[in-house]
């Protein structure tokens, strides 16, 4: 196991990697000429994507860490409770009804509201049957997600061709946030969610033993579990609102980091925020530059890089340290 000092050494390269990502673009490597309006616009575009990518990556990683602990399931990720399906349906509704043309905030707002409502529904159903038992939460989330996906497909089958294209592009996930106020709002929500999760780090450590053991260790589980679920989903829903569905970040970053930092959430969560953010920025840079001027959806890059890495982790020791 690495000491705190070793972990800090590992985190030092992150700002340099981010700076390199800022310099890389489809027009070549280097800082755009800020003397020209085009150069300034290009720099602002790259900067906004970098900030959005970092914030979204941090949100998905921290959300994955927390959900894997609270649900005691190695395959838990930010979308396990149906947030992605709820967010997708919300975004699709906004696009299909033409509300997205009225204001740029309509799309993220619709996605966020539907994602949050989905979580509320899942938590209410799970608490009525078994008081937030991990299995019930996961099953309720999967069922709710499937039902919402079916509604989304129904909507797609009736939508106009242009709306279908917009919805599909949104579903693939991208970091083209257009306004700084939107990025700032989402970043504030995500920072709040990560702060709550860090505040509950010791609770998460106890919850890894199971809800009953955590209760016996002095955790107020009936309050802490919904609070953690809400914070983890707030982070995921905020990320979905601004970037669409980007898979694998919330799954592989926590698992890879647990092997380096250990499972103590006091260390794991801040590391997950930094590494998850940097990972998504790196993936977005690849998405922008690999097939330039054509752009590959960033969700494709995270899946293609994350999938094999996850399989490597899985086959290396036979099983993941949480299952």
């Amino acid at each position: 196991m690495l000491t705190t000092r070793h972990i800090l050494y590992l985190l030092i390269p992150i700002p340099f990697a981010l700076a390199l990502c800022l310099l890389a673009g489809s027009s070549g490597f280097g800082l755009p000429d800020t003397a020209t309006a085009t150069g300034r616009a290009l720099l602002e575009l790259r900067l906004s994507r970098l900030v959005t990518g970092f914030v979204v990556g941090a949100a998905l990683s921290c959300s994955g860490c927390a959900l894997q602990a609270v649900l005691r399931n190695a395959l838990a990720e930010p979308y396990v409770l149906g947030v992605s399906s709820g967010g997708s349906l919300g975004a699709a509704l906004v696009i299909a009804t033409g509300l997205s043309a009225l204001t740029p905030l309509a799309l993220p707002a619709g996605a966020f509201v539907c994602a949050a409502l989905t979580l509320l529904l899942v938590c209410l159903l799970a608490s009525r049957t078994s008081g937030y038992s991990p299995n019930t939460l996961i099953l309720t989330g999967v069922v709710a997600g499937s039902m919402l996906s079916s509604v989304l497909m129904l909507l797609l089958s009736f939508a106009k061709t242009r709306a279908v294209h917009s919805i599909t592009w949104w579903l693939l996930g991208n970091l083209q946030a257009t306004s700084w106020p939107l990025i700032a709002g989402v970043a504030a929500l995500i920072a709040l969610a990560i702060a709550v999760l860090c505040f509950e780090a010791r609770t998460l450590n106890a919850l890894l033993l199971g809800h009953e053991a955590a209760h016996n260790l002095g955790v107020r589980t009936r309050f802490a579990v919904p609070c953690i679920l809400a914070a983890a989903t707030l982070a995921a829903a905020s990320a979905v609102a601004v970037s669409g569905i980007i898979g694998f970040v919330g799954l592989i970053v926590p698992h890879a980091l647990r092997r380096i930092t250990g499972a103590n959430h006091r260390t794991l969560l801040p590391c997950a925020a930094l590494v998850g953010g940097a990972f998504l920025v790196l993936c977005d840079t690849l998405a922008r530059t690999l097939a330039a001027p054509h752009e590959i959806p960033v969700g494709v890059i995270t899946s293609l890089t994350g999938g094999p890495f996850f399989l490597y982790l899985l086959t290396r020791k036979g099983k993941l340290p949480l299952a």
């Binding site: 209760h215 499972a263 949480l322």
Partner: protein, 255 residues
């Protein structure tokens, strides 16, 4: 120390405890015995406040429902029946979780926390395992660590749910000797659900026999381990043999 008055409890619609009353004095060593499904684990869950019940549960003079979780955990530790093998902690970090109720929300463990963990791991002979990850350990080693985690909280009461089920003969005896020593020297109240009736008779001066959620008998091993009571509880013919040289009573099912 623990007073249960007219406790009834249910999982959904199935009642698992019927009007159970029990008083356990400070420093007492008591074993809950009875067949599977008798309500032993449920009674322990009621005492920890995990399973809601009708009736009242008083622990150290306070109603368990009104006690704040951290105060309850400092007063009372639980050793579960089994520890999952996939918990990604080292032995030391796992035992440190026993200090959760005493640790500050921010900041690391204090020297007192470190000392409590070392003391608990030394007592349970697990200090040499401190750097090893839990998934690499045997069931017996994990069980000893579970006891160490309970001891690390320096509680006044320890509740144990079948803790010896994964231990070999030597470690079973050592765990029981350690528990009786803690009980004798530090006046720790110990309540343990146990299946092994011979072991219960050997180490516990008081047994409570439960059957179908009801208290069937309460007394010394010779008062409780009677063929008529055991046959009524277990629904199987038994023979009871006193073993004076081992300070125990051997209970065997009749073929």
């Amino acid at each position: 120390m623990i007073t249960l008055s007219h406790i009834s409890a249910a999982y959904h619609s199935e009642t698992v405890l019927h009007d159970v009353s029990l008083t356990i004095a400070r420093g007492e060593l008591l074993a809950l015995v009875g067949p599977n499904g008798a309500g032993k684990s449920s009674l322990l869950r009621v005492i920890t406040g995990l399973l809601p019940s009708r009736g009242t549960v008083q622990v150290a003079g306070s109603d368990i429902v009104r006690l704040c979780p951290r105060s309850r955990a400092r007063l009372l530790s639980v050793v579960p029946q089994e520890i999952a093998s996939d918990i990604p902690y080292t032995a030391h970090d796992f035992v440190m979780l026993g200090r959760t109720a005493s640790l500050p929300r921010f900041g690391g463990p204090s020297p007192d926390d470190d000392a409590a963990v070392q003391e608990a791991m030394t007592l349970t002979e697990t200090w040499s395992l401190r750097q090893r990850p839990l998934p690499e350990m045997s069931g017996g080693e994990r069980q000893r660590l579970a006891l160490a985690m309970a001891l690390a909280g320096r509680p006044q009461i320890i509740l144990l749910d079948e803790p010896t089920s994964h231990l070999d003969l030597r470690h079973r005896m050592e765990m029981m000797r350690l528990l009786t020593r803690l009980n004798r020297e530090q006046q720790v109240t110990i309540l343990m659900a146990v299946h092994d009736l011979t072991l219960a008779s050997q180490f516990f001066p008081r047994l409570v026999l439960l059957s179908e959620g009801r208290k069937l008998a309460d007394g010394t091993p010779s008062e409780v381990l009677r063929p008529d009571l055991l046959e009524a509880a277990y629904a199987c013919p038994v023979s009871v043999y006193p073993l004076p040289e081992a300070h125990a009573t051997c209970v065997l099912p009749r073929l």
